[in-house]
């Protein structure tokens, strides 16, 4: 039986009122909760305006309005408008999110501790459900609704405050705006230049500058040093000569000196130039060595090496037997790829090289750094281990150097990675026959032989002496007897058929 429609209507209106009230409270709570984040967003957004003014000031160099023309008040008003707009839009977004009706009534149920009665009643009214339990549930919902008139929704204060970072950003933006619009003590275009130029480095050698040139113009390229568009770039030899003559180096070298530390990069350029052509040993390589040594005051130059680099290079060539410096590579005379690694001479010459090796270490490291980075230490170049796999020498002695890892001999080994390389003959290491194993098959021919057997005589078997005892006789139950009887009765019939 359907409850009275008036009661249902009253319940519906009461639930709707409660929903509206809960929705309102929910919105205000959500708004309070979202307000700090919205204000933060507004403050961050307001900081965009001073940045835009700063960009405007930069653009003012090329013509256009200057931020000073705008004024602080206008800038402040603009920031305020931006902050308010962003804050309001965020709050509007939060409030515009749809709040489910069940969510609001469920919260009311929770606050009233009514066990979902309001939610159930609202659902049954909307779906127009019927039945005794539905009617009872609606009555309970009505009672819960009466109790909700005194319901106090929680205040739900703001969970978080505006973070100091956002406030600081807003104040900084305000300060920046004031600085841009009223900061007359420091010109903005100068500030912009200072920001964009690279600060002069302490490593710039004083001799590379003109003594009476100002500090801030050191990085500016003088117009007379710029190459003419139609003029050809100077050759390397010419550049070396100009370096010897004491004339200022070209723009590339200058640029390199300005950006690197200790002039090492410029030394690298020079050394590469020296290695590019073997026939014309550049004097710049000497200069680079000198500049390097001057950059390292605590290090004493090696007397022999610094005095005669040509003889040193020649000695290195002799030691490795390589064709160093043929190409336009690193310019190094120590090319490990071109050295003959089977050379015994080098092995024997190694101890001689060890004399003064400690002193060479620093020079080689500095050389490798001058070539543009850390490279493998060339003094570690040693012939590989003798990996001869042969069992012994011709005399039968074991090869003391053999370690079984494959080696430099042209013959391919049957073990290891070397065996995987095709086209190399593989020696047969199996001597003699393969192991025949232990299996042995022997066949014998045997003729069958007759054997004597004594047959048992029946008369020799006597009668049983002891009594047999009780023999169990399984008595059939009547129904089993009947079953057996029927079976045998039917059997002849089945056979006849």
């Amino acid at each position: 039986m359907k409850p009275a429609s008036d009661e249902r209507r009253a319940l519906r209106e009461g639930l709707a009122q409660l929903h509206r009230r809960g929705h309102r409270e929910h919105l205000s709570r959500v708004t309070r909760r979202a307000l700090p984040a919205a204000i933060e967003s507004g403050l961050w957004a307001a900081a965009v305006l001073p940045v835009a003014l700063l960009a405007l000031a930069l653009l003012a160099r090329f013509g256009g309005p200057h931020p000073r023309d705008i004024g602080l008040l206008q800038a402040f008003i603009g920031m305020l408008v931006i902050a308010a707009a962003v804050t309001a839009s965020r709050l509007w977004l939060v409030r515009s999110c749809a709040i489910d009706r069940a969510e609001v009534l469920g919260e009311c149920d929770r606050l009233l501790d009514s066990g979902g009665r309001l939610l159930a009643a609202d659902d049954f009214i909307r779906t127009e459900a019927d039945g005794p339990f539905v009617a009872a549930a609606l009555q309970e919902g009505r009672e819960a609704l009466d109790g909700s008139r005194e319901l106090q929704f929680p205040a739900g204060g703001s969970a978080a405050r505006v973070r100091a970072r956002a406030i600081g950003a807003g104040l900084a933006a305000l300060l920046l705006a004031w600085f841009i619009t009223h900061g007359t003590s420091l010109k903005i275009d100068q500030v912009a230049e200072v920001d964009t130029t690279v600060p002069p480095t302490a490593e710039t050698t004083p001799d590379s500058r003109t003594p009476d040139a100002p500090v801030d113009t050191a990085t500016q390229v003088p117009p007379e040093t710029r190459p003419e568009p139609n003029s050809k770039p100077p050759r390397r030899g010419e550049r070396a000569e100009s370096a010897q003559d004491g004339t200022p180096p070209s723009d590339q070298v200058k640029d390199s000196k300005g950006r690197t530390k200790g002039g090492r990069s410029s030394a690298a350029k020079s050394s590469s130039g020296s290695g590019a052509s073997r026939g014309a040993p550049s004097s710049q390589s000497q200069e680079s060595t000198e500049s390097e040594e001057s950059a390292k005051p605590g290090k004493q130059p090696k007397p022999g090496k610094a005095e005669n680099p040509e003889s040193e290079r020649k000695q290195e060539e002799d030691a490795s037997g390589a064709t160093a410096g043929r190409g336009s590579g690193s310019g190094s005379t120590k090319n490990p790829s071109t050295s003959d690694w089977t050379s015994k001479d080098h092995i024997e010459a190694q101890p001689d090289d060890d004399q003064g090796e400690d002193a060479d270490v620093d020079d080689e490291e500095s050389d490798s750094e001058a070539r543009g980075g850390v490279q493998p230490s060339l003094r570690d170049r040693r012939p590989p281990v003798n990996r001869d796999l042969q069992i012994g020498f011709a005399s039968g002695r074991p090869n003391p150097d053999a370690n079984g890892r494959g080696g430099p001999s042209p013959q391919k080994k049957s073990r290891g990675v070397a065996s995987l390389v095709l086209g190399v003959p593989i020696p047969d290491h199996i001597k003699g026959r393969a192991n025949p194993g232990r299996t042995k098959v022997t066949q014998e021919r045997v003729e069958p032989e007759a054997e004597d057997a004594s047959p048992a005589v029946a008369e020799s078997r006597r009668a049983r002496e002891n009594p047999v005892g009780t023999i169990e006789r399984h008595e059939l139950t009547p129904w089993m007897r009947e079953l057996v009887r029927n079976y045998f009765k039917r059997a002849p019939v089945a056979q006849e058929n």
């Binding site: 039986m1 409850p3 929910h26 709570r29 489910d100 069940a102 969510e103 609001v104 009534l105 469920g106 919260e107 009311c108 149920d109 929770r110 066990g115 979902g116 009665r117 939610l119 159930a120 659902d123 049954f124 779906t127 459900a129 019927d130 039945g131 005794p132 339990f133 539905v134 009617a135 009872a136 549930a137 609606l138 009555q139 309970e140 009547p478 129904w479 009947e482 079953l483």
Partner: protein, 338 residues
């Protein structure tokens, strides 16, 4: 419960339900000390028409609980101790050749222990899958088939199975298809210290506890109708569905933990079980409609055996209860999120 009744009829029916329920619980409580949640779960399954899987270490009174319940509701009770050599015919029954009065013979069906109202399947995981599967038809269809003959089982029919989670050697874990047929999986824990005293007093003294039948099969069946009459609002249905979907990996409502650690989630049968058990909860609480809280309160018992962990979940040491808790936290009831 007829749909033509009034609200007063519903109140009376609900009151009767609570009375009978409380009486049975009191009787079982005379024998069983503590374990209120387990007793409530077993009674909920009885009234909802489901089956229960009781899991706990030996000596916690699982068998005694079911036996006490059988005594309290005056139902035909049978107990099957499952062993690995048990065959389906041992529990279902078989046809035997008997002699008729006239001297003739006939094949007659000899009922097995499965034919009863309340069946205690003790240590069900010790039986082979062949025998376990013999229970499937009885649990789901409430019937057994022997040869070409199908027999309906008498209602109310309730299987209460027990299993020991520790001694896993020589056991056959229940297949998912059979686990899904249990309404609840109740975990029987150790009693509290105060309950130990009462257990010792009851079991080591000379006084014997007798349980009196306070209900019968007909009343149980009538109260089952009352339970099924409890309406479920759409919001509660939606919430139950979301909870079930939350256990399915990659589902719309599943938390990350489920996607990472669950191999198999609950089936729609889990949602049915949630609502049925929620109806019993609502009647117990004196309400006439199922709320989301009713559904949430039974979620662990209903869903824990329907969630199968994958290797990562097992290696992380998770339990199905952890998964269900994560789902409950991920899917809030209406009004809880604000």
């Amino acid at each position: 419960m007829s749909m033509q009744g009034t609200a007063e009829d519903a109140r009376k029916a609900a009151q009767e339900f609570r009375d009978v329920h409380d009486k049975i619980r009191d009787q079982v409580g005379r024998m069983m000390v503590g374990q209120k949640d387990v007793i409530d779960g077993v009674l909920a399954a009885l009234f909802a028409g489901g089956h229960v899987l009781l899991e706990g270490v030996p000596g916690l009174g699982k068998t005694m609980l079911v036996r006490s319940l059988g005594d309290a509701v005056h139902l035909a009770f049978s107990r099957i101790q499952f062993t690995p050599d048990m065959m389906p015919a041992d529990i279902r029954g078989t046809q035997v050749l008997v002699e008729t009065e006239g001297g003739g013979h006939e094949l007659r069906f000899q009922e097995g222990p499965l034919v009863a109202n309340l069946v205690l399947a003790d240590e069900i995981n010790r039986a082979t899958p062949k025998t376990q599967s013999a229970l499937l038809e009885a649990m789901q269809e409430r019937q057994i088939t022997v040869g070409k003959e199908t027999r309906k089982l008498a209602e109310p029919y309730c299987v209460m199975a027990t299993q020991n989670p520790v001694e896993q050697e020589g056991t056959y874990p229940l297949p998912e298809a059979q686990l899904d047929r249990f309404l609840f999986k109740l975990v029987v824990g150790y009693p509290a210290e105060s309950e130990y005293h009462e257990i010792l007093d009851r079991t080591t003294g000379s006084e014997e506890v007798h349980i009196e039948p306070v209900s019968d099969a007909a009343e149980i069946l009538r109260l089952r109708d009352v339970v099924r009459s409890v309406p479920v609002p759409d919001t509660t249905k939606t919430h139950a569905v979301r909870l079930v979907m939350g256990t399915q990996p990659g589902g719309e409502w599943s938390p990350d933990l489920v996607t990472e650690s669950v191999a198999l989630g609950s089936s729609p049968r889990g949602a049915q079980a949630l609502l049925l058990a929620g109806k019993v909860q609502a009647l117990r609480a004196g309400r006439f409609a199922v709320s989301c809280e009713d559904v949430r309160s039974v979620a662990n018992a209903v869903l824990r055996h329907r969630v199968i962990l994958n290797f990562q979940g097992q290696s992380d040491g998770l339990t199905p209860d952890d998964i269900v808790d994560a789902v409950l936290a991920h899917v809030p009831a209406p009004g809880d999120a604000s």
